[in-house]
Amino acid sequence: MATIFWKELADHLGSRRFFILSLIILVVAGTSVYLGVRGFQENPENVGEYAYLRLLTTAQSGLPSFLSFLAFFGPLLAVLLGFDAVNSEFTRGTVSRILSQPIYRDSWINGKFLAGLTTMAIVVLSITLLIFGLGLFALGFPPTGEEFGRLVLFVVVAVIYLGFWLALGILYSVLFRQTASSALGAVATWLFFTLFLYMIAGVIADQLVPIRADSTAADLLRNQNVRDFVLRFSPVALFEEATLPILVPTYRGLSLLALLTRPDVPTSPLPIGQSLLVGWPQLVGLLALTAVCFAVAYLVFMRREIRTS
C-alpha cells in the first residue's frame, strides 16, 4: 500500500488542479489575515484574548472568515482530488495493469484515500500555520499554548470534514464510469450542501413556524431550531458547529437568540476539553458520514468487474 500511497501523493501534490485550488485558499486566507491584523492595528483595544483564534473566525469588510471560507471552498478541493480517482484508471486502462500486480485490491483504494487525506492535511496545516506566522509577525506576541492546542484540534476536525468530501468524490468516481459525470455529481452535491440546503432550511422553518410581526421570542427560537435541525443534514453545518466551539472559546453551542432569552448563561470562555465536548456530537456525525461514504465506495469497488469492454 505504501507504494500506491506515495505515488498518489506525488500525483496530487504535482497536479495543476491542486496547485490552483491551494493558491485560491492561500490568497483568501492571506487576505483575511491581513485585514484582521489591520483591524487590530486600527483598534488596538479590540485585541484582547484569543487574538490568534479570532484571526481565523472573524469576517472582515465583506470578506468571509477563514473558517467559513474553508467550510465552503475546502470541499471543492477535496472533491476535486477524489472525483476521478477510480474511473480515470478505468478509462486510461491502468486498472488491469495495476491490479494484475501482487497487491490486494483494497490496498489500492485505501492508498488513494489516505494519499488524498494526507494532501489535504498538508494544505490545511500549512495554511493555518502560515496564518499564525503572519499573525506573529504583525501582532508581535506569540499565541498561547491553549490557542495552539485549539489550532491543532481545528486542523484535525477540518481534515475529517475534508475527508468526507474526499470519500464522496471517490464514491462518485466508483459509481460513475465517466469522469465528467462524477465531476458534475460531486460539484452538484457540493452546491446543494453549501448553498441550497441553507435556503431550503430557511423555507422549511418559515413554513412550520411562520414569523410574523407579533411573533414571540419563543417562536423565533423555534423557527431557528427547525432551521438548525434541517441544516444538520449538511456536513457543512456540522463542520461549522463542530469547529466554532474550538475556535471561539466562549461558544456554548447556543445561538445569539438563545443567549438573549437565557440571560443566566455565563459568557466566560470554556476550557479546551469542554469546548471540544460542545462540538462532540457534530464531530462524531462528521466521522460517521466520512466512514459511511468511504465504506460504500470501498464495497462497490471491491465488487466491480475489471472488464471494461
Binding site: I4, R97, Q101
Partner: protein, 303 residues
C-alpha cells in the same frame, strides 16, 4: 502443466461468456488463444489471473488457485491487457519503476531489470520521455517491458499486436518468441489475427461461444496430406484435357490468361511435371496445399 482449467463457466448478468471451457498449457510453450471477438478470450485470461472469478469450474495456474490465492498467481504471472494504459505524465522508466515497487523488487535489482527490459523492447533512448508522447506501437512494447520486469514464469498477452502496423507486429511477435527461447517463459497469446499467431505459436486453441472448439499444434490443425497445388502458365486446351484425364488429378481450374490452377495428389509429382513439359507449358508455382488456419476458422464461424 502450468495452466490447467476444467469446465470453466462464467456468467455476466444473463450471458454465459464461458460455457464449459477446458484449457491446459504446458511449461515453455507459446499457446495461442484464438477466436472472434466476444468468444471468451479475455474472460478466460481474467480468470487465470484471478481478476475475476469463474461462476463454475476449477483453475490452477503455476500450482496456485487464482480464486483463493490471487496474490501468489499475480506474483509469477505477467499480464499485458488488451487496452494497456500507462500514467501519461510519468516517463516510461517511472511507469516500470511503479511496477517493480508494487512487486516488492529491491531497488538495485529493479534498476537492472528495468534497463534490461527497456533494452529488449528497444525503448532505451526514449525511456525518460513521458508516456503521453508515445505512439501506439511504443506503448505496446512498453507493455511488454512491463511484463518483463516481473520476470514471470508465465506471460499472458491479450491481443499484443492489435492496432499495430504489420512491421511493428512482426517485431513484437519475434520479441515474444525470443523471450520464450531465451528466458524459457511460457506464453499465452490471445488474438483474432490468425496469420500472426500462426507464425509463433506451438499450439493453438480456438474458442467459440465460450467453448474450446479445436485445439492442437498449428501443423496438426492445418494438416498435411492435402495434395499439391500448381499454377501452370501458357496452358493449352490439350494440356487441360490430358490433366483432366488423369486419375490423380483432383481439380483443374482456369484462372485466366492461359493459366491453370491444378490440384493433384503428391505421389504423381513426376507424372505431372512430365505432362506439363510435353505440352510446352511452364510451372509458375508449385507448393503443398495446406489449409490455413484461416480456412478452419472461417469454416467454424461462418456455419
Amino acid at each position: 502443466m502450468i495452466v490447467e482449467a476444467k469446465s470453466l463457466r462464467k456468467r455476466y448478468k444473463d450471458v454465459w461468456a464461458l460455457d464449459g471451457l477446458d484449457l491446459s498449457v504446458q511449461e515453455g510453450e507459446i499457446y495461442g488463444l484464438l477466436g472472434p471477438n466476444g468468444s471468451g478470450k479475455t474472460t478466460t485470461i481474467l480468470i487465470l489471473l484471478g481478476l475475476t472469478e469463474p461462476t463454475e469450474g476449477t483453475v490452477r495456474v503455476c500450482g496456485y488457485d487464482p480464486v483463493r490465492e490471487p496474490l501468489a498467481v499475480k506474483r509469477v504471472v505477467g499480464y499485458l491487457s488488451e487496452k494497456v494504459g500507462f500514467y501519461e505524465e510519468l516517463s516510461a522508466r517511472e511507469n516500470l519503476r511503479l511496477i517493480t515497487r508494487l512487486n516488492g523488487i529491491p531497488e538495485r535489482e529493479a534498476k537492472r531489470r528495468i534497463e534490461e527490459a527497456l533494452e529488449q523492447v528497444g525503448l532505451k533512448e526514449v525511456a525518460g520521455r513521458p508516456v503521453a508522447t508515445f505512439s501506439h506501437g511504443m506503448r505496446q512494447r512498453l507493455g511488454i517491458a512491463d511484463v518483463l520486469v516481473k520476470n514471470p514464469k508465465l506471460a499472458i498477452l491479450d491481443e499484443p499486436t492489435s492496432g499495430i502496423d504489420p512491421e511493428g507486429a512482426v517485431q513484437i511477435l519475434d520479441l515474444i518468441k525470443r523471450l520464450r527461447d531465451e528466458a524459457g517463459m511460457t506464453v499465452i497469446i490471445s488474438s483474432h489475427l490468425l496469420y500472426q499467431v500462426q507464425r509463433i505459436c506451438d499450439r493453438v486453441g480456438i474458442l467459440h461461444r465460450g467453448r474450446m472448439v479445436l485445439e492442437g499444434t498449428v501443423s496438426e490443425l492445418t494438416g498435411g496430406g492435402e495434395g499439391l497445388l500448381a499454377v501452370v502458365e501458357g496452358a493449352t486446351a490439350a494440356l487441360r484435357a490430358r490433366l483432366e484425364g488423369e486419375e490423380w488429378t483432383r481439380s483443374v481450374e482456369d484462372v485466366g490468361d492461359g493459366r491453370l490452377r491444378v490440384i493433384f495428389e503428391e505421389r504423381a509429382r513426376a507424372d505431372f511435371l512430365r505432362i506439363v513439359a510435353e505440352e510446352g507449358a511452364v510451372i509458375a508455382e508449385l507448393r503443398p496445399r495446406t489449409r490455413s488456419l484461416e480456412d478452419i476458422y472461417l469454416r467454424y464461424f461462418q456455419g
